[in-house]
Symmetry: C2
Subunit: 515 residues, 2 copies
């Protein structure tokens, strides 16, 4: 297991942060991001991949994509050689693929604690929590609108979660703060309550700019211009529509060398055709157009090939999660991303269930495993997602976060050295014996098998005497424990004050808006 | 979706069964066994596989295996060229591999309804329910010792479950029937309450013989000698021990051309080394010895390469399920089985949880998906397993059985024809539109996405008004519905009577024994 260790590098954010953290009493372990030592699952044949790539170019050339309310984008496209009619942009075959070549195949997102830096791309897998729900749920309080206090609790849980590498972004929508100001409180929470990397705001270009400026306070202005310190989520309005709000945010981030996930948001059957091949074709065309555009803004800007895909229940129109078709699309999109040499974002703790029950877990497990095997490099929503993304669940957050440990162990692959072969143990034990006490077991058991920090492994009688608790009840106890032992990572008081001042000043500069 | 269809073949078991079933009011759908159109996941390199195969031969040659209380087996081995010392049998390098060559790479297990016949091997995946638990659990009655009435209910659920291809064997232990007689009642239930294929008894060679004789009544004596009508579970006492009870059953079945799964039963760290490579090596050696022995009994007897593997929690000694190490072993064993050209059995609805809650579902989903991708041909325990195999759960049975539908859809693979490419739909809808009403969606939606028959897809408000039911509660309702609509498949009354007579006569011939 590759835990983050003090690597002797100077801590930013005031210096000495790492040293002070070491002196503290509670050790908050964070695993290093996953580096896969297992193969990807390749569900599509070469023939299928070539058909998709050919058809995606046909979409870009003959149908085109819309860039809405964005004259500057249309100018950029015209200059690059696209055919622009009104807001419709048609790309000559090969143009997008050519432009994409300047996007890096991987990049490092820096955290204020350099031990928490993550590499996104190649064989890496970085795990970040749920993003976007307006509601929260917990066992005691039920389902309710999310507040900034809930938000802060989730950031603390993320900081305390060993298998999470990233603090995420909108872990829930703090609906008690004005819409035009809540990004400030959210960023402030990520920056002060966690030392893991985080995401910037995308709900207005001006809020993306605020995110950059707050990062300049946290990391230093020069550092931000030279390094990527945010990875933010830019959704495409599928089918084939790029709106000015999201593209405006992307323009700010790309210009500042900050990373964006360019991600179609697709419920198959509604925003894309009701077939795996059709959906993959549209996804590829959309991502190619979006990422090509990012490179028109700034060559070399870090970007991620995103694919949020799920299917629809044609009886009710509800999105459904953890389905085999979504899995097939996720595997296929990974193959397409690798052929473009781009980092890949997909999968997550998706489920449609209203409760953190068996349905939630089936659907989530189906998707987490697909995420690992499809070569995902950045998994947003890796824990805490409930009710089709309407709810951030405290209990499900820690349940899923625990399961993420299994992905780490799976990704280690199979050691084949002499110790792993264990022939001495097999000789020692022989027919009819047992391995519990043998030398090989004693030497290897601690690191041999993944062990949950949450699930119940007790005999029936012991479990029964302790109240016969189900997973949700065990998870509620774990939430309390993690919050009770939470320890705020050290931050230079001058930086902390400067961040607070920035937030206060920005908030005072405009009236509240709740739309 | 490949539902079983009337294929115009003459129904056995009295003739006309299929015709009568068609006339009945409730249509009980059963999906055809899965034929994979997706790749297997190959976690081990060629180098790793060769090391394992080399080391397994070393085990057989230098350490050997024990055949306990079985002089006839020792004679067979001696005749075949093995080195026999006491009960220890050592096989010259290459002998087992040579003997295994006569085992078929796939076989058909016949059901009394020929539409339910299954092919085991190659790209097929046949799904059978949980096997062995002494307890049952349901929402109303809690956890209790299983009875023959519970057993019959499970057989009925299996008959009614669309995605189950096989009625299984000891779906729970009917503890209210004498140990020496319960196999008769169990077989009678499978034969009369279901028309799917089933398993024979292995708890005594004489009970295996009874199983064959009851099959001769059901299928006809000649038919049984010419065809495989049972697949039974023969466990190896790992490490490397073959006891006379299980081997005695195997001898009866092999002599009668009936199939056996030859399966190490391994909790890693206890019955095998605490490493993936070590466990795989031992599993391979054990299976090779067991299958080679089956071919000494009768060349060409159908057999399955089995691997029941899980890991241990080294803190408590409890077996743990759905773990990444068990997954790696399951993938690897699949590769080894394919290299021996043998059908493969592994995976199942494994979990350690006491309740059909989120833990149960995470662990089960982790394992079911691995089963599909590791190339399993026969999945025992595919539904209903709870509490480490101590409990057959009614609710979990239908929950898991529902998830098996997702495996069917996943296994279909990705269609790449023109209709699947959906370029007409993408042109028709264009940027900013939606696909819900387009011609391609209308033509394809019914079969496009897998849909659960159990899970909740309702909006929060509707779900809430209906009582806010979790998966377990929804499952309890489905159990009732399936049992209420259960319809017994037609069986020739003469055969039915002959089976009952056989059971009555056998029972009367011996006193009850509860040990």
């Amino acid at each position: 297991m590759a835990e983050a260790e003090a690597r002797g590098r100077r801590a930013r954010g005031g210096g000495g942060a790492a040293r002070r953290a070491e002196r503290s009493s509670v050790v908050v372990e964070t695993a290093k991001y996953i580096e896969r030592n297992i193969p990807n699952y390749e569900i599509l044949s070469e023939e299928a991949l070539e058909i998709i790539e050919h058809n995606a170019e046909t979409i870009l050339e003959e149908i085109g994509v819309n860039f809405v309310n964005n004259p500057a984008a249309l100018d950029r496209w015209r200059d690059a050689g696209a055919d622009v009619q009104g807001e419709r942009v048609r790309l000559p075959r090969g143009l997008a693929r050519e432009l994409i070549k300047t996007a890096p195949s991987q990049y490092t997102q820096h955290a204020r604690n350099p031990d928490r830096n993550v590499v996104i791309g190649g064989k890496s897998l970085v795990l970040a929590p749920v993003y976007g729900p307006p509601f929260v749920r917990d066992l005691d309080g039920g389902r309710r609108y999310a507040t900034i206090e809930d938000f802060r609790k989730f950031v603390k849980l993320g900081q305390m979660s060993k298998w999470l590498h990233h603090s995420g972004g909108t872990v829930c929508e703090p609906t008690d703060v004005a819409v035009n100001k809540r990004h400030l409180d959210m960023l402030h929470a990520h920056m002060t309550l966690s030392d893991k990397p985080f995401m910037g705001s995308v709900t207005e270009p001006s809020r993306a700019q605020d995110s950059v400026e707050m990062c300049e306070i946290l990391f230093g202005k020069e550092f931000v211009q030279e390094n990527t310190v945010m990875t933010s989520l830019v959704n495409i309005n599928s089918p084939m529509t790029f709106d000015d709000v999201m593209m405006g945010a992307l323009e700010v981030y790309a210009a500042n060398n900050q990373a964006c996930i360019v991600s179609p948001f697709i419920v198959g059957g509604a925003m894309a055709p009701v077939s795996v091949m059709g959906t993959l074709t549209q996804v590829l065309a959309e991502v190619m157009a979006g990422i090509a555009y990012s490179q028109l803004v700034r060559k070399g800007a870090p970007v991620i090939f995103g694919a949020f895909v799920t299917s629809i229940d044609m009886n009710s129109g509800a999105p459904t999660f953890g389905t085999p078709e979504a899995a097939q699309i996720t595997y296929g999109a990974g193959q397409l991303a690798r052929r473009l040499n781009l980092p890949y974002r997909s999968a997550g703790s998706f489920c449609g269930s209203k409760l953190p029950d068996a349905q939630a877990a089936y659907e989530t497990a189906n998707t987490l495993n697909v995420g690992l095997q499809s070569g995902v490099n950045f998994m947003l929503h890796a824990c805490g997602w409930l009710e089709g993304g309407l709810v951030s669940s405290f209990e499900k957050y820690v349940m899923d976060a625990d399961q993420l440990g299994a992905l780490h162990h799976m990704a280690r692959g199979v050691a084949i050295d002499e110790n792993a072969q264990a022939m001495d143990a097999i000789r020692e034990v022989g027919p009819g014996g047992h391995y519990l006490g043998c030398a090989h077991t004693q030497a290897n058991f601690k690191n041999a098998f993944w062990r949950s920090d949450l699930l119940d492994y007790k005999p029936f009688e012991a479990w029964s005497e302790e109240g016969g608790r189900d997973t949700q009840v065990l998870a509620a106890a774990r939430v309390r424990k993690l919050l009770d032992t939470y320890q705020q990572p050290y931050l230079d008081p001058a930086i902390s004050e400067a961040l607070s001042d920035y937030v206060a000043r920005k908030k005072a500069s405009m009236p509240d808006s709740f739309t």
